[in-house]
């Protein structure tokens, strides 16, 4: 028997004319954590779908436990012990924890009648696999994302899983929850289960994986032990280009603060927050989920509440009661979730870019000058090298990084004093991330005051000349220049 649990060689898969997988080799040993890394659209998910039987490969060989496997259907995959935990966890928020745990095996066993006792037994058995305890009768929708994930893992273990594939499991988790998840992953690994971990977060991959498989443009460019890789190699393999961390060097900081916040309080969200922001600065605000960082941003953009405290803009005290008011005061906000809060996905790219500056483009009676709208938005497409051939196409046709560029250009169209970026590169590839960072640096040095709110510490460290750390709704630390390191920030947060 071979040392590998699953071995795939020369896997090919095409969709229409697109070569999604081009002679991909992949192998995973039992009792190891294997990371599958790569930027969006590199073929990661296609490979996963071939393993789980959703797609059929065009050619190539698959060996599972030393036996050649001809064709895999989803049912075969389950029988062989392959379990996929999708990003959305495939749970039923309206059902109880017990039902969520037991329903899959009940369906697989082709049962017709519900037997509560048996369901409960199955659920308890599932939980006992990782020694996890939770109220079985709680509704799934009431659990935290981390708990939901553990339930999903328990459910996967019911099927005598030998290989568990986790699709970007850390996306919605806080640092603490990620640590807890990794503990579980190691526990599973030590019990002999192979784990395939899909991610594009460099730090996580180095923390958790034994082996790594990096894919780019449908080919695997690296397959081997993680320990043999440096972070620089890794980035090179991911993007195909050398990327140096480009630290932000402020060159153009004004004397007078453009924004001054004093003793700002939104009850139960944050309290007594004071800071100053000068033109040409990039101020980082970081903290764990629930530290009040996002709420602070919302209050500065007129979407949150202010119970006490003052905001001074260019020396004048202001009251920001709505986003319209904030825009009038030349404050821009790029929200955390660009898909639902920052973009009209099913509207043309051009319309999205010009959305917050339509007033400049209207004739009498509020009619829009379409010709001009397209000309102006095309300029932005060029400036930001947004990857599209036609600004008439919907925003949904773009990748995450390019979408973020649209959201940025939407604001830059208006003359801004302050730009607040909340999680500017969440779900964005390393390459596009780099572009966005460079862009923000450039803007700051041209005299814009920027606030970056992020829990991606590496991002904060590279891009900010000053960082404020928040915890439980208050500011617990501030650092500038060389004092900004991941260790220093973590010391305060923890």
């Amino acid at each position: 028997m071979s040392e590998y649990l699953l071995q795939m060689t020369g896997i090919d898969k095409s969709f229409g004319g697109v070569h999604a997988l081009d002679h991909v080799n992949f192998a995973i040993k039992p009792g190891k954590v294997m990371c599958l890394a790569g930027e969006n659209g590199c073929g990661k998910s296609t490979l996963v779908k071939i393993i789980s039987g959703v797609y059929t490969r065009d050619s190539g060989e698959v060996m599972f436990e030393g036996r050649a496997i001809e064709k895999i259907t989803p049912a075969d995959a389950t029988r062989m012990g392959i379990q996929v935990i999708y990003q959305d966890l495939s749970i039923f928020p309206n059902l109880t924890v017990m039902e969520n745990l037991a329903i899959n095996s009940e369906i697989t066993a082709n049962r017709k009648i519900v037997n509560r006792k048996r369901w409960e037994q199955t659920a308890r058995e599932a939980l006992s696999k990782i020694g996890y305890e939770i109220d079985l009768h709680k509704k799934m929708g009431e659990l935290s994302v981390a708990d939901k994930q553990l339930v999903a893992i328990c459910r996967a273990l019911l099927f005598n899983a030998k290989l568990i594939i986790m699709d970007e499991p850390t996306t919605a988790l806080t640092k603490k929850e990620v640590d807890a998840l990794f503990k579980t992953v190691r526990q599973l690994r030590d019990s002999g289960i192979a784990i395939m971990f899909i991610s594009h977060k460099t730090e996580e991959i180095f923390e958790i994986s034994d082996d790594v498989c990096i894919m780019r443009n449908g080919k695997n460019v690296f397959l081997g032990e993680t320990a043999t890789l440096t972070k620089k190699d890794f980035t090179y393999y991911m993007t195909g280009r050398e990327i140096e961390d480009d630290y932000f060097v402020p060159t153009n900081i004004s004397k007078e603060p453009v924004l001054k916040v004093e003793h700002l309080t939104w009850r139960d969200k944050f309290h007594d927050v004071s800071f100053e922001l000068r033109k040409g600065e990039i101020l980082g605000i970081t903290g764990l989920l629930g530290s009040g960082r996002t709420e602070l941003a919302l209050s500065l953009f007129g979407l949150g509440k202010v119970h006490s405290g003052t905001i001074t803009l260019n020396g004048r005290p202001v009251k920001i009661s709505s986003p319209i008011e904030a825009q009038r005061l030349r404050i821009g906000y790029v929200p955390e979730d660009r898909l639902t809060e920052g973009l009209c996905l099913r509207q043309p790219i051009a319309d999205n870019i010009m959305l917050s500056s339509l007033k400049q483009l209207t004739r009498a009676l509020g009619m829009i000058r379409h010709q001009e709208l397209f000309e102006k938005s095309n300029e932005w497409v060029k400036t930001f090298s947004i990857a599209t051939d036609d600004a008439h196409k919907h925003a949904s046709t773009l990748s995450g990084g390019n979408q973020q560029k649209i959201v940025l250009s939407k604001w830059l169209n208006n003359d801004l004093d302050v730009l607040i970026l909340n999680g500017p590169t969440v779900g964005v590839d390393i390459g596009a991330k780099q572009d966005i960072h460079a862009l923000v640096h450039d803007l700051a040095n041209k005299g814009l005051a920027v606030i970056i709110i992020s829990d991606d510490l590496a991002e904060v460290v590279v891009n900010c000349n000053r960082v404020i750390v928040m915890k439980d709704g208050g500011i617990v630390g501030e650092m500038t220049g060389d004092r900004i390191t991941e260790e220093n920030i973590l010391d305060i947060i923890r």
Binding site: S90, I91, F92, N94, L95, R111, I113
Partner: protein
Amino acid sequence: MNKAALKRMTRRTEFYMFIVLILLCVLVQIKSGGKLIAFPGIFTRLNVTVLRTMVVNGMFAMCSLVVMISGGFDLSFPAIAALSYSLTCTICLNNGWCQNSPVVGFLLAAAIGWVLGMLNGWIISNFKLNTMIVTLGTQTLFTGISMGLLALKEITSTLPNGFKTFGKLYILEGVDGKIRFTLSAMVIFLILLCAIVSFILNKTMFGRALYAIGGNEVSAERAGYNVKKVKFLLYSSVGALSGFVGMIRVCMESQSIPKAMVGREMTIIPAVILGGASIFGGEGTVFGTVVAVAIISLVSNSMLLLGIDTYWQQFFNGLVILVGVTVSALQAKRQKQ
């Protein structure tokens, strides 16, 4: 019952609706001078009327409930019922069927409803379209078939005797002053149906599939449910049931009027929502639905007794829609947080 279970219960819409129903009963009982519930004997002219109103509404509500749990909206069940019973009565009349026993009529109506429901199911499961739009289309189509294509007529005095006598069956009779009242035997069908639906929803994998699909359709598919098949089965069964319920109504009213069902969905669906079914799917119980139907039937039947103009009925129905939808949306919001 432990504390956690009690807490869970108080979070449910059904629980509050039940309290509302009890309070309403007390109010009507006092205001009407004890006309709602008799001691001893329980049954009065008022409450047998309320029960009678509940039969058809309650059974239709079951049709609507199962669809809403699966995350869909069925606007076409009254149209299916209308076409099924109008066609059935016309066929029976022309052939001289059902003069003694109504069984053939019921089977025929259910079969027609089944075929019509299959059309819904086929479109919805194959093309994955919005159920409200599909059933709005089929509703209009079915009404068009019955009024235009087949030009089905009202059947009143000539209705086959089997139906008439069946509808007049009662399980209990009493006297209020000089007026005799009876409790219709059709109530048995309501109770039976509630029991069956409750069993299917809670005790069968098909029932759990409806909740699962309503909760997260993609997950249900991944978990191994054949979502297409479940949906087809659901809509075709609801069609058959609608035809059956339509026949019950014909028997109870001793007449078959093709237009009688128009707009009925707009009173049934709000009742189901009021009873705790979520407009987003995945939530809803038989108990809650029955309670909500009882509230609506009680109010509409006691308005005259309480000295309220019946024009207020419309006002009340509107209120029910708004309250029901708001509660449902608020609950979904709370669950998200």
